[in-house]
């Protein structure tokens, strides 16, 4: 009766030229590879959980710690490892601010802006760092300096409210930071 059959579902008119592609905030990392010993550690980690999916955050943390950011390749690698669709991992990466989608600098300055620190001028310190490193003090999210050495970002409570303001440079904790102290921290990073 209907002499025309569509073997595979066709798009309608290709006239939707103004449509934009699916937004892609993920960075490419062509040289992404996970060393064998790390794979072994992660595979062991996965076994701690009743379902593989439950290990998603642990794997993301591991990747973030090693590469400083989570790339498209990393998302797909983790998804394959956990037998998930990449979208499931991608959702997590965009949800948690502690995962970065752009490469971060060698030194990662996390400035606390929760109540105690905010009251004791952590915004000024953030502003100070930004000006020194040529970044936008009002910029949103993590910002990396042009030379790729520093990443500055606000974070929520670093759990040392008694000694506010607090910043964390990579894994080192600095308490009661003043502008002078901040300069010293930057100098120490060279």
């Amino acid at each position: 009766m209907n002499p025309q059959t569509i073997s595979t579902p066709q798009a309608a008119d290709a006239g939707t030229a103004s449509a934009i592609p699916i937004p892609n905030p993920l960075c490419e990392q062509p040289d992404f590879s996970v060393p064998a010993e790390m794979v072994a550690v992660l595979d062991e980690l996965i076994t701690h959980y009743p379902r593989k999916r439950s290990a998603s955050l642990m794997l993301l943390h591991a990747v973030e710690e090693r590469y400083g950011y989570v790339s498209r390749q990393a998302v797909e690698w983790i998804a394959a490892r956990l037998e998930l669709a990449p979208i499931n991992v991608y959702e997590l990466v965009t949800f948690y601010p502690m995962f970065h989608r752009q490469p971060t600098g060698r030194f990662h300055l996390r400035i606390c802006r929760t109540l105690s620190c905010a009251l004791r001028d952590s915004y000024k310190i953030h502003d100070h760092f930004c000006r020194k490193l040529g970044l936008d003090p009002h910029g949103h999210g993590a910002q990396t300096s042009k030379d790729g050495m520093f990443t500055v970002e606000f974070v929520e409570c670093l759990a040392s409210c008694g000694t506010a303001p607090v910043i964390q440079c990579n894994d080192t904790f600095h308490e009661e930071v003043t502008l002078e102290k901040a300069d010293k921290i930057l100098e120490g990073c060279k």
């Binding site: 798009a11 103004s18 892609n24």
Partner: protein, 566 residues
């Protein structure tokens, strides 16, 4: 419905314990458990199901009877109370002997709260109305309100509930969060993230019903957006169902995009003809132009879904090359004729054909009634008959490998050989040997199925009825323009033996006529048998003559059809 044993009734589920609850003061008895929409396993009955059982509408966005419950839109918040229990686990009674109800201090979402015996659900209290108003205000905070350019306008739940339960004006003075618009989500879908209310119906559908975990929500808070994984378009064969599911205009079909406003569309109950499943559809048409198919609920065939393959296979109906004229060919010259003069000529030619020299090929895309009439004609001539099998890859949900909508009907009427297509070779051989001199072809291009143009040229009489021109109609002595299924009424029997009827949505083009009509005109002169005048009568007569359809009547078919044994 007839009591004939051949009609299969769906297996009655084991009796389930019933619970009595009160909805807005009216008592209703509902089963304690109901089958889950996706898995079919019994799960506790929820308040929203109890409300629907007594026809009380509870507004909802994320809840869908065929999807897992998510409970994220909060639109179905209702107040409820449960019987107060004393320390002895016995209900406390009011002085008048009725059970004392303890009203819950907090509301509950009706879609995810199971009912309990004696529960009272209040869906229309001032508090409930206030909550609905609040929820709608939240949903509209970042909504772009671009109804004038939104394809969903007219069938949008956000519009409907805003009118029914929302506020008249917005209190939101701040700048709205803007999100990506016109995202090319897949080959058939455009996504507008600003309109999305994050009900996650589309995510749950594609993950839990189709099994293709393609969609997800990214970012946080006000910036939440639905998306597919970058570089991985949403392109499974069921993607367009998310457009139907979307309560707002976030997901829209590229095919139907900016084609026609939905309030102009006339909705006609019909069937999909692209495979043997026979999904129930609604045809949307305006002024004799068909615009879209939408699936129609039928639990025994397609639930509430249909595949993209079938949904988009309608453009041939409006093909400008459609056969719209009766054509009579004498030798090489083809002349345009009309029904009034062509039919007596054809009847006379057919009448002179000797029994045994005729072959009839009817398509399994014709309606059962048409095939029945063709079979009558064939029987008169003791003709060799057959249909053309048509197959394609099947999938795990609805798409069937049999791409003919009415193969079972062709078998029932006796027109198809067993197996279908096995007589085509015999017909070709018959023509070659000169035994078969007359060939009647309905809806097939036989040159593509082993009966080439050289063979057709040897025939004394070739009668072809079709919708679009093809190699067979080019050679035919009589070309009778037929109708697409949306232009006529009839029945199909699907691969499982579900007899279903479809209705006429638009008028046929030009001189084209429903095949049943002109076959009915031809039969009395050629065979001496007169068919009932109405299609209903014809169906009932056919059901009486075909053993498999015993006891089925047109009236019994209803909207959802009847299952018979095959």
């Amino acid at each position: 419905m007839s009591t004939n044993a051949k009609i299969e009734t769906p297996p009655t589920p084991a009796p389930v314990e019933k619970i009595k609850v009160k909805v807005d003061g009216r008592e209703v008895e509902v089963p304690k458990t109901m089958p889950d929409g996706v898995t079919g396993k019994p799960v506790p009955t929820t308040m929203i199901q109890a409300c629907h059982a007594i026809k009380v509408e509870v507004p909802h966005y994320c809840y869908h009877p065929r999807l897992p419950v998510a409970g994220n839109c909060r639109m179905c918040l209702v107040e409820f109370g449960t019987p107060a229990m004393g320390p002895d686990r016995k209900p406390i009674l009011n002085p008048d002997g009725t059970a004392k109800i303890l009203k819950s201090p907090r509301p509950a979402i009706a879609c995810a709260t199971p009912i309990s015996p004696g529960m009272e659900i209040y869906t229309n209290t001032p508090n409930v109305r206030f909550m609905r108003e609040g929820i709608l205000e939240f949903l509209l905070i970042n909504h772009p309100l671009d109804c004038p350019i939104c394809d969903q306008a007219g069938e949008c739940k956000l519009q409907e509930y805003s009118v029914d339960h929302g506020q008249t004006s917005s209190r939101f003075a701040e700048i709205k969060v803007h999100k990506p618009k016109r995202v090319d989500l897949g080959p058939r879908i455009i996504l507008d993230d600003e309109r999305c209310i994050l009900c996650t119906r589309c995510i749950r559908f594609t993950r839990d019903v189709v099994g293709d975990d393609a969609l997800g929500i990214v970012n946080r808070g006000s910036y939440n957006t639905i998306t597919a994984y970058p570089g991985k378009p949403f392109d499974n064969n069921y993607s367009l169902n998310t457009v139907d599911l979307c309560p707002v205009g976030a997901l829209t079909s590229k095919d139907f995009r900016f084609q026609m406003r939905v309030w102009f569309l006339k909705e006609t109950k019909s069937l999909c003809t692209s495979c043997g499943t026979g999904c129930n559809v609604v045809v949307g048409s305006r002024e004799d132009r068909m615009f879209r198919y939408k699936p129609r609920e039928n639990d025994s065939v397609n639930a509430t879904w249909m595949c993209d393959h079938g949904r988009l296979n309608y453009r041939w109906i409006h093909n400008p090359e459609r056969l719209v004229q009766v054509t009579v060919r004498n030798g090489a010259a083809a002349t345009v004729s009309d029904w009034k003069s062509a039919m007596p000529q054809l009847a006379a030619r057919l009448k002179s054909a000797a029994p045994g020299t005729v072959a009839v090929i009817g398509s399994a895309r014709q309606t059962t009634e048409e095939l029945f009439l063709l079979a009558k004609l064939a029987r008169h001539f003791q003709a060799v008959t057959d249909s053309v099998p048509r197959t394609g890859p099947a999938d795990h949900l609805l798409l069937n490998a049999d791409r003919n909508p009415n193969s079972t009907g062709a078998v029932f009427t006796g027109l198809a050989a067993t197996p279908m297509g096995s007589n085509l070779g015999k017909i070709a051989e018959g023509i070659r040997s000169g035994r078969i001199k007359t060939l009647i072809v309905f809806g097939e291009d036989v040159t593509r199925h082993g009966i080439g143009a050289d063979l057709l040229a040897r025939l004394d009489l070739l009668v072809a009825s079709d919708i679009l021109p093809n190699a067979t109609t080019k050679l035919a002595h009589f070309v009778l323009p037929g109708c697409a299924h949306v232009e006529k009424r009839g029945t199909f029997v699907n691969v499982k033996g579900h007899v279903q009827k479809f209705m006429k949505a638009i008028e046929p083009k030009g001189d084209a006529r429903a095949e049943v009509e002109f076959l009915k005109e031809l039969l009395p002169t050629v065979t001496g048998w007169t068919a009932p005048r109405s299609l209903e009568g014809l169906f009932n007569q056919m059901a009486g003559e075909i053993p498999a359809l015993q006891g089925v009547t047109w009236a019994a078919l209803g909207d959802t059809g009847v299952r018979v044994q095959i």
